[in-house]
């Protein structure tokens, strides 16, 4: 009798999972994987959201034999752009025109249009940090011009522009800017976010073939909290990256001291240390020290750097070049009243009492006036496999 009751109970228990009805079940082929999204702002303050959905049947060689998906056309992805009051409202509209469920877990890149970035980046980031389907590891980029265009570049090196953008973002800094990092910077006291800028470009194959549209990293977007204030490029952008210690695979190219050519130093490792210190007269001084180790990677001059004074002077020159870049970058940042390096954040952390006095107007008064001492030391460990420049007669060499 007891066993019978127990069996009935067990049978009833076995039925429980069936009653749940698998509501959350969604087969992998009923999902539209959004791999990249772009947000722009329209003149009437609406969001224009563009999403890129790769077509599995096109993008992967797998399953072609089995008949493939219903993908048609020659692109491996589907692009849709919709206007809505909010980011999610636009998504909802897009969903209405889609046979598959939008799925954001695999969104690897998010691009802000230039206009939107100048307006406000905080609200799209709110969506991304609020919904668990979105990942804190999504890379953030700013486009120069409308962001929607970037997602339509040919970018033939990868299967989709999304993948191309992701790799670009990954290469942009040592610690690429993700939702997590940008959110942290937005929330931190005395710190501003920064993002790489990507722009549309065309390849120049010469007369050989048709030009193709491509994407390239093009400097840095400098923010004051949620508003972009400027885009830096060239040496100033390099200088900011140096000062942040985020420069990925830097190359220092400097003219040889006798003007006979150029010398490139490939940086193998470096370390940047930023400190703030109070001076005896009650002000704050910032010190940025860079210790750079590199190797000679190219020499088009007639100088040899083997066992000679030339190496020491090259090191001095290189150190000066790095210092100059950093100086340029930091000056720009101070002029823009933006602090992505986090100098003020260091004051806040190390001298909270002091920060309390200056924080009411730190951006416009305190930060631009901090003296920043920059000190870069480049050490060249070796001169590569060749000892003297190739093709220069021995009598012309200067050691």
């Amino acid at each position: 009798m007891k066993a019978k009751v127990a069996m009935t109970f067990v049978c009833a228990l076995c039925l429980v999972p069936l009653t749940s009805g698998c509501w959350d079940r969604r087969e992998i082929n009923d999902i539209a994987f959004v791999t990249a999204a772009a947000a722009d702002i329209t003149p009437d303050n609406h969001y224009r959201v563009t999403i890129q959905v790769p077509l599995p049947g096109k993008i992967s060689d797998v399953g072609q034999k089995g008949g493939g998906g219903g993908a048609s056309g020659n692109k491996a992805y589907f692009l849709d752009s919709t206007i809505g009051d909010t980011f999610r409202a636009a998504n909802a509209k897009q969903q209405n025109a889609m046979s598959r469920q939008l799925y954001f877990s695999h969104m690897r890149v998010f691009v802000f249009g230039e206009d939107l970035a100048r307006e406000n980046i905080a609200s799209p980031i709110d969506v991304m940090s609020r919904i668990p389907q979105n990942r804190m590891t999504t890379y953030l980029l700013v486009s120069s011009g409308p962001a929607a265009d970037l997602l339509n570049a040919q970018a033939t090196m990868e299967k989709t522009p999304a993948e191309f953008l992701r790799e670009l973002a990954n290469e942009s800094m040592i610690h690429p800017r993700t939702v997590k990092r940008v959110t942290e910077a937005l929330l931190a006291e005395g710190q501003d976010p920064i993002m790489p800028v990507v722009s549309w470009t065309t390849t120049k194959p010469g007369d050989a073939g048709d030009a193709q549209t491509n994407l390239k990293l093009n400097g840095l977007a400098i923010f004051q909290k949620k508003k972009m204030v400027a885009m830096l490029s060239g040496r100033a952008a390099d200088g900011v990256l140096w000062a942040m210690g985020e420069f990925r695979r830097p190359l220092i190219t400097i003219p040889a001291q006798n003007g006979s050519g150029f010398v490139s130093v490939m940086v193998t490792s470096y370390h940047v240390r930023t400190t703030v210190k109070p001076t005896p007269d009650g002000r704050m001084v910032c010190q940025i020290k860079a210790r750079v180790t590199g190797a000679l990677s190219e020499n088009t001059s007639n100088l040899t750097y083997e066992r000679s004074q030339n190496l020491a002077s090259l090191e001095r020159q290189a150190s000066q070049a790095v210092t100059d870049d950093m100086r340029l970058g930091v000056d720009q940042l101070q002029r823009l009243h933006a602090d992505p390096i986090g100098i003020c954040n260091r004051v806040y952390r190390n001298y909270p009492g002091y920060w309390h006095h200056v924080k009411h107007n730190w951006r416009d008064e305190f930060y631009p006036n901090i003296p920043v001492q920059i000190d870069a030391q480049v050490e060249i460990r070796n001169s590569g496999n060749a000892t003297s420049p190739v093709g220069v007669p021995e009598e012309e060499l200067q050691s």
């Binding site: 999972p17 992998i28 791999t35």
Partner: protein
């Protein structure tokens, strides 16, 4: 003695325990179909003493063995003076032995002092002088004589002697000792048990040469009268466990025992568990190793498979070769087995959960490949998985039983139909085929077949749970299995002994195999009163005190 009375008595007291095997036999006999057929001579003969009239005895025996055409009756005259008769079943005895060692001395050698034959013919004399065989037993009831005959002995009835002599000969030819097919090794002994119990126990005696190796005998099965031995080493096995094992074995009442599996299912602790609570092996070295750790073994006549208990789960992940090969290799192999175990149990479930609920858990490029492969598949992942897994199980089952030549055809069919055609026809996706293949291979790496079956079985509920509840379902399944395993006992020994309850010093032999010089103690779960197996500090190396670096200069 009426059978009906006995039946009623048994019903009234169904759980009547510890009884001698013979007594049980008697009771069961009375209630078995023999009674219904009316040919009750066997049952009736049971406790009837053998009389000293040869004629009466023969009549009785022939009645019992009526219609047994293989019964041989050999009349003879002991010392040309006294009538005697030898009965045996042809085929069960060695006729040459019988004639050389028993008939010849009985007929001819007794002639020498025939004047005394009549007066001094005592049972002892016949046994001592008349028969040259090593094993001669005596029966004073028909019951014993009959059991002797069906057990392969020859019964000798002599006129004027109220006893029967049971003569044992070498018996018929059985399968010779060969390499065990289910547990082959690269390194290790190649002999395996056979169907002959005496050979089997001898094989074990060759390994463990001590009188402390005990073999307690039982006879199970009313009709089969299968000899069963409970084997253990006296100082090592826990006496309480042995007592419990004896109690459980002797309480078995069954008409026949044809394989050790009968015993296993009748005495295990938790019959409703999918996990095996006995290990079986046909390797004498495996059995010897287990006995040396304080376990006991159950040998069954007629099968090469010997049961071992108490067991822990870890034994099923260990092969005998683990202890013969150097330990570095075994480290790797054990880790591999645990990974395989995990894969065999969870991989299809994980695949289902990930592709139907947690697409975010896969890397983007992988999710694209899987999505592309599934693009044209008409079934949900669970149906796809069930189709593939069931086909695979069917193929495996077919492959086991078929003759080798046909087996090849099955594997070709399987490889072609499942591996290729199903994918090309768009019925199942290629990733699913890979998952099933990995699962199959992983389940083959488990060295014990009965443990592999448990894993094979549990894979299906895991798949269903994953299909219904996703990762949560898998977690529920894992919890259920873990709780069950923690609760499971084999003869009082926790199934996960070492891990739960945790024993710091023993955990090393669960996941890895320590070098022999580190395994000083036996596992505490079995031989708890006598744990030291070897001297400590035996890590070898050249003698550092002497000047030379060991051996040659």
């Amino acid at each position: 003695m009426s059978g009906r009375v006995l039946i009623r008595r048994r019903r009234r007291r169904p759980t009547e325990s510890v009884r001698g095997p013979e007594q049980q036999g008697t009771e069961l006999d009375a209630s078995t179909p023999l009674e219904i057929e009316g040919g009750s001579s066997y049952a009736a003969s049971c406790e009837v003493p053998i009389s000293d009239h040869l004629h009466d005895n023969l009549t009785m025996m022939l009645k019992v063995f009526s219609d047994c055409s293989d019964l041989q009756v050999r009349h003879l005259c002991v010392g040309h003076a006294r009538d005697a008769c030898m009965l045996y079943l042809s085929g069960l005895v060695n006729a040459t032995d019988l004639s050389e060692e028993a008939l010849r001395p009985l007929i001819y050698d007794f002639q020498a002092n025939d004047e005394h034959v009549m007066d001094r013919l005592s049972p002892d004399k016949i046994r001592d002088e008349g028969v040259l065989l090593a094993r001669v037993g005596r029966a004073d009831t028909f019951r014993k004589a009959i059991d002797g005959i069906v057990g392969g002995q020859a019964a000798l009835f002599v006129d004027g002697v109220s006893q029967a002599f049971l003569l044992s000969t070498s018996g018929p030819e059985r399968r010779s000792i060969s390499e065990p097919e289910t547990e082959s090794v690269v390194r290790g002994p190649r002999e395996g048990f056979t169907e002959d119990l005496s050979v089997n126990i001898a094989l074990l005696r060759h390994k463990i040469r001590t009188p402390q190796l005990k073999a307690h005998s039982f006879t199970l099965g009313t009709y089969t009268k299968t000899a069963v031995l409970l084997v253990y080493i006296e100082d090592l096995a826990d006496p309480k466990v042995i007592a419990e094992a004896k109690r459980r074995i002797s309480s078995i009442e069954i008409d026949g025992v044809l394989e050790s599996g009968y015993i296993e299912e009748l005495i295990e602790d938790q019959p409703m568990s999918p996990f095996p609570q006995f290990q079986y092996s046909e390797r004498p070295d495996t059995i010897a190793a287990q006995l040396l750790e304080g376990r006991f073994a159950i040998f069954t006549e007629g099968t090469p498979f010997v049961l071992i208990a108490p067991v822990t789960w870890w034994q099923f992940v260990q092969a005998s070769e683990d202890y013969y090969e150097r330990f570095f290799l075994v480290y790797l192999v054990r880790v591999l087995r645990y990974i395989s175990l995990f894969l065999a149990l969870f991989l299809p479930a994980m695949y289902i959960a990930v592709t139907t609920y947690h697409q975010d858990m896969l890397p983007t490029s992988l999710v694209m490949s899987v999505a592309a492969a599934r693009e044209s598949i008409p079934f949900p992942a669970i149906i796809e998985a069930l189709i593939m897994e069931l086909t695979f199980e069917a193929l495996r089952e077919a492959g086991i039983r078929l003759p080798k030549a046909v087996g090849q055809a099955v594997s070709i069919l399987g490889a072609l139909v499942i591996g290729q055609a199903a994918v090309e026809a768009g019925i199942v996706s290629a990733p699913m085929v890979i998952i099933v293949a990995i699962t199959g291979i992983a389940s083959f790496t488990l060295p014990r077949y009965n443990a592999a079956i448990a894993i094979r079985l549990l894979r299906f509920p895991m798949m269903l749970l994953a299909a219904v509840l996703g990762m949560f379902g898998i977690v529920i399944g894992v919890m259920w299995i873990s709780i069950h395993l923690c609760k499971l006992r084999s003869f009082g020994v926790p199934y996960l002994s070492g891990l739960a309850p945790y024993k710091r010093k023993e955990i090393k032999d669960l996941f890895f195999r320590p070098p022999w010089w580190k395994m000083v103690f036996r596992p505490s779960s079995f031989a708890h009163h006598n744990r030291k197996r070897m001297a400590e500090r035996q890590m070898p190396g050249p003698d550092k005190r002497s000047g030379s670096r060991g051996g040659a200069r």
